[in-house]
């Protein structure tokens, strides 16, 4: 179901013309209003007038998270504070958070793209949407909330935590749609089982999950455990919040709302733009944001773009599900390893729970990888030989997929910390 058919199904040449017009306006605005960008342009010897086509985007400077940190808190805002009606902050791994600011128009735009995204996932004004993303500085909760409200759905602002209550209200309020992280969706499904709440007691039909990378096998698990269709939504606070892109019913890539964002894929080392179909780092340029417009923002998320026509009728380019981050990537004995690879192996083998953790240590000069895995009810056999054979199967598959060998260790249920937000998949004990 389209929320904004005119935009979502716009012919590509019209869409690109719109993008160019908006890009030119955005570039002019930041050049004149944001000293950081003016300096960056001048260093490169470029001016707003040099942007004559979308290809000229590659002449322009990048923006990184460090730039936001260096200009903490409001240094990159393009409008005076009196026009900023909302501030959000994303968690920083070190010290100060990165701050984002929104004008009233930005909030309207954000609500529109989230409403569009939720409609893309099958929700409408009759839906009852349970939002279990955290409300607060995190853009997840309020982002989803304003979008769902704009859509006209009945919004349940649960935020995170209080799982028993979440399940009780999910039942009693007849929630049809669930919005939270994929990790939390699994957590809720398990809690429901423990509480003895059957699937026939709830009205859930769809889930719109994001805020962390998740595999196809994790999706299959969630769809099975909750008997719903699970869709991927993507976003990041710097670019807007949730709703930058969204999967359609084809479940084959997420449509990036190109009337608001221009995506690029670049080689993270050479910084050269890559053609459609090649994997690399996702970069976004915001062309309608007023408070904090960003030029070529490097997300560190790894993805790939395709402009192949989608059966849903939407013409906006699709991005592949994020397969990891350039900084989530571990280098173990010289090999690039992503936690998501481990996830897909474990779920493919199917006899373990989706709760795992990678422990990386260094023994003398040699890196060692140990993977902790919780045994599922059905895989726990009384016979040691069966357990050992499962261990070996996992070990062989990991070795084949990752390119390095890992020790597999079965652990008791609930040993691996559950997360209500993003799951911690890696414990790197090396002091690199």
């Amino acid at each position: 179901m389209y929320w904004n058919e005119a935009k979502e199904c716009m012919e590509r040449n019209e869409l690109q013309a719109l993008q160019l017009e908006r890009l030119k306006q955005m570039v002019t605005k930041i050049y004149h209003n944001v000293p950081f960008y003016r300096d960056a342009f001048q260093k490169l010897g470029v001016e707003p007038e040099d942007i004559k086509s979308l290809d000229d985007l590659s002449k322009l400077p990048f923006t990184t998270k460090q730039d936001l940190r260096d200009n903490y808190p409001y240094g990159l805002f393009a409008t005076p504070m009196s026009q900023i009606v909302r501030l959000h902050a994303s968690s920083g791994t070190t010290g100060k958070p990165t701050v984002v600011g929104y004008t009233r128009n930005d909030i309207t735009t954000w609500s529109e793209i989230v409403a569009r995204s939720m409609a893309c996932g099958g929700a409408d004004h009759n839906s009852v949407i349970q939002i279990s993303y955290g409300y607060g500085l995190f853009t997840g909760g309020l982002g989803a909330h304003y979008g769902a409200e704009r859509l006209g759905s009945s919004v349940i602002p649960m935020s995170g935590g209080n799982t028993e209550k979440q399940i009780m209200l999910m039942k009693d309020f007849g929630a049809t749609t669930l919005a939270c992280t994929p990790s939390y969706a699994i957590y809720l499904a398990e809690a429901m089982e423990e509480m003895g709440v059957g699937l026939e007691e709830i009205s859930l039909k769809t889930g719109i999950f994001g805020a962390e990378p998740w595999s196809e096998s994790m999706r299959a698990q969630i769809e099975k455990k909750l008997n719903i269709k699970a869709y991927d939504i993507y976003g990041l606070s710097e670019v807007m919040g949730p709703g930058v892109s969204m999967e359609c019913e084809c479940q084959n890539g997420m449509h990036i709302w190109e009337d608001h964002f221009i995506p690029e894929i670049i080689d993270p080392i050479t910084l050269e733009p890559l053609p459609y179909g090649e994997k690399g780092e996702l970069v976004f340029t915001t062309i309608t944001k007023e408070g904090l417009p960003l030029l070529r923002y490097r997300t560190k998320d790894i993805s790939m773009l395709t402009a192949e026509r989608c059966k849903c009728g939407r013409t906006h380019v699709r991005m592949q599900r994020v397969s990891g981050r350039t900084d989530d990537m571990l280098i173990i004995r010289g090999v690039n390893v992503f936690p998501s690879q481990v996830e897909s192996v474990l779920l493919e083998i199917g006899e373990v729970e989706p709760h795992y953790q990678l422990i990386v240590t260094r023994n003398g000069n040699l890196d060692e990888l140990e993977i902790l895995v919780e045994l599922s009810e059905k895989s726990f056999s009384d016979k040691i030989s069966i357990l050992e054979s499962l261990e070996k199967r996992i070990m062989n598959r990991i070795s084949s997929v990752l390119g390095i060998s890992a020790k597999i260790r079965f652990v008791e249920p609930k040993t691996i910390p559950r997360s209500q937000g993003k799951a911690v998949r890696v414990i790197d004990k090396r002091n690199i």
């Binding site: 726990f380 009384d382 040691i384 357990l387 050992e388 079965f410 008791e412 249920p413 609930k414």
Partner: protein, 139 residues
Amino acid sequence: MFKQVSIFLENKKGRLKEVLKLLADNNIDIRALTIAETADYGVLRLIVDNVDKAEQILKENSFRINITNVLGIEIQDKSGSMYEFVNLLYQHNINVEYAHTCTPSNVGKSAFIVRVDEDKIEEALEIIKKCNDISTISE
């Protein structure tokens, strides 16, 4: 035939103590116990007096468990009786997966728990019925 409770325990200090305390606190009596271990974990196998209760409280406390059907056998407490029993199974092509002893119900007898293939249990029970010196443990 008994329902044996198998419990997965990590090879960490205190795990065995925890599970035994849990059973003790819930008045569950253990009639046979064995631990099969590997470097990283152990499988604790128990014959208890109340399987349903044990299953429930172990699951509630997040233990990974499994219920297996096993045979409870009683033989004469004298040299050669174990050999006779195992030989009897061997002649009928019934493989012994594992075995461990337990408290006999009668004096002068030795008792043990035997695991055979699930689909050979009925056959094994038939064979034992026909034997004079071997019987199954009364539950």
